[in-house]
Symmetry: C2
Subunit: 397 residues, 2 copies
Amino acid sequence: MTNFSWKVEYKSKKNNARIGTLTTPHGKISTPAFIFCATKGALKASTTDVAKENNTQIILSNTYHLMLQPGGDIIANHGGLHRFLNWNGPMLTDSGGFQIFSLGHGSVADEIKGRTNTKRNKTLLSISEEGSLFKSYLDGSIKLLSPEKSIEVQRDIGADLILVFDECTPFHVDKTYTDSSMKRSHRWATRSLNRFNASIKYKPTYGSAGQQKLYGIVQGGIYEDLREESIDFNLNKIDTFGIAIGGSLGSSKEEMYKVVDFTAPKLGTQHPIHLLGIGDPKDIWSLVKNGIDTFDCVSPTRLARHGSALVRGKLGKKNINNNEFSQDLSPIDLNCGCSTCKNYSLSYLHHLLRAGELLGLQLITAHNIFFMNELMQIIRDSIKNDSLEEAESDWFI
Amino acid sequence: MTNFSWKVEYKSKKNNARIGTLTTPHGKISTPAFIFCATKGALKASTTDVAKENNTQIILSNTYHLMLQPGGDIIANHGGLHRFLNWNGPMLTDSGGFQIFSLGHGSVADEIKGRTNTKRNKTLLSISEEGSLFKSYLDGSIKLLSPEKSIEVQRDIGADLILVFDECTPFHVDKTYTDSSMKRSHRWATRSLNRFNASIKYKPTYGSAGQQKLYGIVQGGIYEDLREESIDFNLNKIDTFGIAIGGSLGSSKEEMYKVVDFTAPKLGTQHPIHLLGIGDPKDIWSLVKNGIDTFDCVSPTRLARHGSALVRGKLGKKNINNNEFSQDLSPIDLNCGCSTCKNYSLSYLHHLLRAGELLGLQLITAHNIFFMNELMQIIRDSIKNDSLEEAESDWFI
């Protein structure tokens, strides 16, 4: 028995944008949707209740972090991550590959901003056909993460949607490396799928959880022929429920847009399409037009913890640390319906940040969560009305 | 028109314990009650909504901190502290005196534990008839806090219950100093009351707020004849709504118990009696027998932020940082009805603390708030049933 389904409900007449319904055993997700990062099993300064009250549909956690602390066994003993972190809605885990390589090589932000990661401690030790060897960021111990191991841990964790294990190449590698890495990631994807199909280890102890669906990942860096090859692999050579767009998205936003524009439309409507690690509202407005169904990024909650509240318009955010807000009796956004904007002034939030009160981070986080979910709601509505371009212009006025 | 009242509903047949109802424009408080500290206008890692869901009746803020940051004017511009921090229930502010002297001389905990405060930066510059001169802990600027100034700031802040300005003497001063300090605090109390009665400055902009009642403070250190004199002053020489027991409570728990046992019963039933700065459940069980109606202390929320959850029994708390909890699937307390115990395991809370997640502090804070409110509920119930001693024994099994 399965409780999963994916259906494109409406396709835009003007571009490749679509609205859809992704059904999981823990509920339905209306797409395009944003996935919030509970990296280590927590939304940092937000309870899952607050996330839900602010319209969150789905969250994700990171296999890499959770396998190191507390370990998949402890989560399995709880009956899975849903119970562990008290979230009864849809959930995704990545495969751990991204973290090994981003912590090993440098982050996607470093990539897009053209920074090379010279200072950071390299934790990636080696990559072989078997998998990748890395140093735990917690205790320095040496660990191997392989496709099989990643799937086993993700089975223990028990998220609804899980990912194949892959190498996320840095942007500065050449085409030859990207090609051979892609082919290895394809072999890893097949091994991931085989272990996924073979595994009966995860025994659900509650509700309908424990049923999971796998996402493949399109590789190929910025090279169109390689992306083409990986699209073919994901559509025709393995059978996964969803498909994510991964690998290097280039060294600039323009390259990223180009890669997604080239890749996403070719993936069709049979699979929900996830774009890994992108969360800037400007990018989301643009990339839904290529047919992206789900996005994830740490930025909405991370910005909040640095005192920045997301707002519409060209600037996109208010840095509440700024002294200009010390006497401002209005909320972050007068038209916002979040619990923070209904109950608190900018002056109070500014005071909390100045006084070093944790509550400030909680309240701004709640706003940013609501904001992202409202953004996605407006995007869905405007796709349905074929008014996406107009809605986008309104948003940035 | 006033919306304040105080009524002792029931007096124990066995001791001086009583249950009462303290009515304010923002709601009724069933006493004995615990007052949670929103020192700088925030309950640190808890929203006021979470505090309310966990049965909180009343919170307090500190005039000293709020006058320095953000300043009484900004709070007044919001229509008062209730609006500023989004708490529609009863609220108290202290006069600022305690902070000037505790930050200047050393804390009550230092006192009770017999520590002298040699290392801490002295911020108290001088005390005169006019008031006290201190250095702002924020920017080093020199400020004068006088009885008049304290009342003006408390009028701006607009809490329901406010305190006269006093000197909180350290335990190590002698009887002569305690005596002259007490007499000056009495003169300050009269000046506080005069300014309170004369002030029409605070203009309520919402609901019934802006109406306030004043508490006097019993001084006299550990000296019974001085306490006697201060009791007489507070009962017969000034007319305040409530009375707090302040000043030095000695250098040990035994001395503190002795002072309260001597003082509180003599204050009768005409005023609600507040004991400043005491929040250990053991102390509360003991001191309600002397007729204390309300307590306040930072400890329940502070302990939570250090990873300690309050529990019944002799130990009184669980340090969730301890590795013994890493695989513990049970909640902090199986019988606890708080949102944290209903939804989260010790193993998860331990994981959050190890991972440095702010959420851990939020969840343990919610538990500790619920715990204190449940403690007070049980105390009220057992006073009503004349079974306080038995309930106390059960609590510590």
